[in-house]
């Protein structure tokens, strides 16, 4: 039976800005999961029931080629994240050079253009389907990553630059310490967001270029044949992979930049 103290602690989860213990946090997650599954089960009919989705997942895994499709998608996404990170960070750091700022502003504006319209242009450049998908993903993610990091760099207080200068640093060394190393934690956070965006775009890109397969192509095929249980199973797989990837990147950020969350009220 819950004591008044533990009940009071549990009720704290309903109050703003309260810290809660790990057991209470796990309890909230478990309760939420049960509520979602129950609602899902009750709503079955419109959408496939959990058991049907589970059966479809087993079928896709054993005979449907899910492992191969997933491997293709994971490799493609990791490649795209690596290229996007390299290109976007290089462009964002280049904002310290006044002459480069118009170019970077133009790249940033590309986020308003759709991805589909550019497919033909990339088809002319790419040698094969994999390359085409890769560059479409990179093209889709880079403007958002650049915009986010360029804003972080532009918001750096003048005092930080001046402080480095008063220690006798050259301007390039100031860039290294203040702009590159000083924003590393925020670069990793921007990377997390871009990586999540990658999974969202991946299914679309694999739908446009189906030659190599992948989980997006598989999802569209199943959708075409109205296999909704399989579609939901694939959505679940993408969600799971995305969450695992996100937690891994958050862990990497904590390991490389442990100072970043020390003064936060709570960790994300």
């Amino acid at each position: 039976m819950a004591t008044p103290v533990s009940l009071h602690r549990a009720l704290g989860a309903l109050m703003p800005n309260r810290s809660i213990t790990v057991p209470i946090q796990l309890g909230i997650v478990a309760t939420s999961a049960i509520v979602v599954v129950a609602a899902w089960q009750l709503g079955a009919g419109v959408i496939p029931a959990p058991a049907e989705v589970g059966a479809a997942l087993a079928r896709l895994w054993t005979t449907g080629g899910l492992f191969d499709a997933l491997s293709t998608s994971v490799v493609l996404n990791l490649e795209a994240i690596a290229w996007t990170t390299a290109i976007a960070l290089a462009l964002a750091y280049l904002t310290v050079i006044p002459a480069a700022r118009p170019l970077i502003a133009a790249v940033s504006k590309l986020r308003f253009t759709g991805l589909v319209g550019w497919a033909f242009v990339f088809t002319l450049w790419a040698h094969d389907g994999h390359q085409l998908k890769l560059w479409m993903l990179v093209f889709g993610m880079t403007p958002f990553f650049v915009t986010q990091m360029a804003a972080v760099i532009a918001a750096l207080p003048k005092e930080r630059f001046d402080h480095a200068r008063t220690l006798g640093m050259s301007e390039w060394r100031v860039v290294w310490e203040v702009v590159i190393r000083g924003t590393a934690d925020q670069a990793l956070e921007a990377l997390r967001q871009s990586a999540a965006m990658g999974w969202m775009m991946l299914t679309m890109v694999e739908g446009i270029v189906r030659s190599e397969g992948g989980i997006g192509a598989m999802m569209l095929n199943e959708n075409k044949h109205l296999q909704l249980d399989a579609v939901f199973a694939l959505i679940g797989v993408v969600l799971l992979i995305g969450v695992v990837q996100d937690r891994a990147l958050a862990g990497l950020r904590r390991a490389l930049c442990p100072y970043a969350e020390l003064t936060h009220e709570r960790t994300p």
Binding site: P157, E159, R160, D162, H163, A164, R165, T166, L167, G168, M169, R173, E177, V178, R181, G182, A184, D185, C257, P258, Y259, L262, T263
Partner: protein, 273 residues
């Protein structure tokens, strides 16, 4: 009690300096010198210059000119024995919010300073200073884990490890409670007495603390026209030699009537600027 002293060569000079910012004349015709103060009976005397003035008179502009972070619109700021025009990195600067490299631990921040100054045996020197200023146990802390007072000390040590003899401090007493203000005063005096040429320039509007630690005071403000309107451009309207007034180098001076009288005199003067 009168202390014997002599003024030697010029260390910092404002040579007819004016500054226009955003089309507005902020500072005009600043001419002042800081000379090495030598006491025959005291080794490593050093000195503290207080730059006092009400808010909005251009103290920050003057601070940036002295640091070499901005160039004057006219005139020159000269520093050192060779009286060279000041450039960033020639003068130590402790900013109001004590910026440190947040991605480096305390010791890392200090070592970065020694590396740039080309100081051999930097780690030993950094650890010795941490010990001297009661921060030895904070060597592995991240800057965000430090208290305001600890941050201030680390920011000063960073500049000292750079080999800076001249250190500018922007509002070193801002936001501090009375106890920490006293700690800041003690710290400033201690740093000034670490080497003969150590010269600390504090830019502040805290009159009491400035009088408590300074050997010389520059009062910055605007002149007023006959009708009482301020004349554009602030200048150093008064230089006070606190040694001659027997207000410097006296422990517990803040508890004496002459200290209180002088503070009141400055407060009255503030209201006219």
């Amino acid at each position: 009690m009168t202390h014997p002293y002599a003024l030697h060569e010029t260390l910092i000079k404002l040579d007819d300096v004016s500054a226009v910012r955003g089309g507005r004349l902020v500072l005009r015709d600043l001419a002042a010198e800081i000379k090495d103060i030598v006491r025959p009976d005291v080794a490593d005397q050093g000195q503290v210059i207080g730059v006092l003035g009400p808010s909005g008179v251009g103290k920050t502009t003057l601070f940036r000119l002295l640091a070499g972070l901005d160039a004057p619109s006219r005139g020159r700021v000269l520093v050192g024995e060779r009286q060279q025009p000041v450039r960033p990195g020639m003068v130590g600067v402790v900013f109001q919010h004590y910026p440190l490299f947040e991605h480096r631990r305390v010791l890392g921040n200090l070592l970065l300073a020694t590396r740039h100054a080309g100081i051999a045996d930097g780690e030993a020197k950094a650890r010795a200073l941490l010990e001297r200023f009661d921060l030895a146990d904070r060597a592995d802390a991240w800057p965000c884990e430090l208290s305001g007072g600890q941050r201030q000390r680390i920011a000063i040590l960073q500049q000292l490890l750079c080999g800076h003899t001249y250190v500018l401090m922007d509002e070193p007493f801002s936001g501090l409670d009375p106890i920490n203000k006293q700690h800041a005063c003690d710290l400033i005096v201690e740093v000034s007495r670490m080497a003969e040429r150590n010269t600390i320039v504090i830019v502040t509007h805290d009159i009491r603390e400035a009088v408590k630690v300074s050997d010389t005071l520059w009062l910055v403000g605007r002149d007023r026209a006959a009708d009482g309107t301020p004349v554009p451009g602030s200048r150093i309207v008064e230089t006070y030699n606190l040694i001659d007034r027997e207000l410097a180098w006296e422990p517990g001076i803040e508890r004496t009537p002459r200290f209180a009288t002088f503070v009141h005199e400055l407060e009255d003067r503030f209201r006219t600027l």
